[in-house]
Symmetry: D2
Subunit: 239 residues, 4 copies
């Protein structure tokens, strides 16, 4: 399976705290985790030509990870449409944390994807609410993160096709933190944690979820459906 | 409840067959049906200023019906965004037949909304698959339409939140014909039948579904959620 | 709409704390709330003949509320089967709090309906996660209960058809607290709060949810489907 | 992955037509297909002690296939409860055709699982309505079966968690033919075709679906959740 990890890669350049936690960028840490689990992994970032997401790159990508935050508006509509088309054709997509407000996630969801947030070192506890789900494999009853940004309901998304995790936050909120969607021929997983100033993607359980998610969203192998005018398969009576 | 029935209203002007079936326009027939059931009903059409969907009109609309086909591309993006915003704020939306390819439906669904189609006088039988659903109230086991345009799977939509009707077509296809979606504060119902050259909206059972749908998508009365930065509701520990 | 509020009515007799909070029984308080909202309400309790749920009573019940806890095993299988049949025929069912472990809820869900629990005066905050849902009408962003019993995930239920509320608990847990299900011709709502030693059913917002739930689960008016051997509706070719 | 294929194995003994199509029993044909795809496969039948489903057999079964029809009532409640427990613990279950009326499927669904049926050589066409689903991998737009028993809506099941196939029948009906459910820690797939007097399980595309289904329902590896009284994870304030 060929994975491309896309990252905005701006906080890493502007904020020493982030650079210290992710010296190779958030994309670098995630890519390393996935590669260690046997996937064929590349990375791409906002400031590359075509944001690193050329037609060739996307055509050779089975699963795309997406982390963005401060520069969603700098992602060109052309590239968003290209990624959107590929997802509907079957490419898996894992949207991380602040990617909730990315153009690609909003376009796929059809809603604002708005939410409550707070940077205040909340403790977060992600409870597994669907123990049968492959994305929860190997995870205990909950994942505890000592400090994270809070995201709170209402989260303005379509009701997920499957809800895997629900977060508890110290400051009093809850959040639907692990959500699957099937759109066209593609599968999507949204996973909440991962604020840039915390070492969340170094957490072993979070990494396990990323690996599980990559497998779950991987494309099913079948031809794209035929649309448009269709001849009858049975004789139609005269009326 | 205040309803606005929106219609492209082009086939009625160009095709005598359609004009004969719907002398007051498709919108006129649907509006009459709804008014007879006690709703406060207005109509709006493509060629009016702002397509008849001014801010004032939409602000005074609880439920919007949408029929379009040949001129989806003539609907301005500004009006589509306006309708989209109103749906997410709570306005109900009933999308009819070829409205599957309208900009507003595509934007809300996040998918192509593509499908198979054929104009060949197929018999259609819409089976109720959710007998508990209010939209199926008063409907028998199925609605039979002697002649209709065929729409066939795969229908490129998100899995509906609730699937109420599945169509059988004489030529060999099936279709998810009655689909509910909840998006933001709004409720949406897609209902398949209603090709312009057939008298489908004069059918009493189809009319019953339209009335039921209007009730089902009607707004729930509560304030719009608060989004953005949020103060904690509980004390957060020092870490 | 005719409602029957069923209660085990044992804690009220054995525990003075409960008797003081609910001098007319939990059923009495809920029935009064519903009656004040214009419904035709009766009550029934475990120790009446046939637990107060005779064929006649159920046939004249549109919506049944169910509160039970310490005596689930005393409810006869015959009555459970009778209620089950009525739900599948269309009677609405609202299952409250510890009713999660009732025979009727387990039979309808097909799972253990097990959960975590704790009686420790946790603060509970029920967040609305589906603002478009009629059951959330008139409710703010959350309902806060100063003290309640904790119920925590994993809650062993089928993924709800619609998830309306998610609870936050002071002790660190979350819970899917407002869940809808459609089974056969009937609609079901499970609502978490309501431990007998707290005045939860005197809370105005909780009462509002009960009223909304009664409306939402109310039967749709249509004939029961025909099952069994069926003649073809179309001619079948010789093969 | 260890699979047990359970079959009632009665039609094969009583009806020469069935014996000619399935000389090794329906279980034998399905087991052979699965074994050829690399699974570790055993079979079990009704007339064996404990129906072949001893504690040991079930404890060593990752996925159970179930075909039954004329003798559902002969399956002992004890064994049904044992299978039910194992599914909730994580064992996958694939229920085939007339297994819709088996005690185990009814118990897991909570509904009657009733439907319309007809033995009249209907042509069946199973349309893929979820092209992203792993169970549809390698399948074209539809599977066509020249002759099959008809099953028609309304099918009295909970709305499936995911709907993969919808059938068209020559005689005018439709049916939700491929349905997934997640219950407890287990995954379930119901697949409609497979009447005993037709060679359906010799069809290569049907076999492909069985193989895909076995993979999809396979257990996720994680400990069973802890239920019952739970100590707080956070300090609870005095009130």
């Amino acid at each position: 399976m060929r994975i491309t990890v896309w990252n905005e890669n701006r906080h890493e350049k502007k904020n020493q705290v982030v650079a210290d936690i992710y010296p190779e960028g958030i994309h670098g840490t995630i890519a390393k985790t996935l590669a260690e689990n046997g996937f064929d992994v590349k990375t791409a970032t906002l400031d590359e030509p075509e944001h690193g997401l050329t037609e060739d790159v996307l055509n050779e990508t089975d699963v795309l990870f997406w982390w963005g935050h401060m520069a969603h508006h700098e992602v060109s509509d052309e590239i968003v449409n290209r990624v959107h088309k590929r997802v509907l054709e079957g490419m898996g997509l894992v949207v991380l944390h602040s990617g909730h407000f990315s153009k690609i996630f909003q376009k796929l969801m059809g809603t604002t994807c708005n939410l409550k947030w707070r940077e205040a070192d909340d403790r977060e506890r992600l409870w597994v609410v669907d123990p049968s789900h492959p994305i929860a494999e190997g995870i205990g009853e909950y994942i505890e993160l000592e400090k994270e940004e809070m995201y709170g309901e209402h989260f303005d998304i379509p009701a997920p096709d499957q809800l895997v995790f629900v977060s508890w936050f110290e400051g009093g909120e809850v959040f639907r933190s692990g959500c699957t969607y099937q759109r066209g021929n593609g599968k999507i997983f949204y996973f909440r944690p991962g604020h840039e100033t915390y070492p969340t993607y170094h957490n072993k359980e979070i990494q396990k979820v990323l690996v599980n998610a990559a497998k779950w969203v991987s494309p099913s192998n079948r031809p794209y459906p035929t649309y448009g005018n269709a001849k009858p398969l049975e004789e139609i009576s005269k009326k």
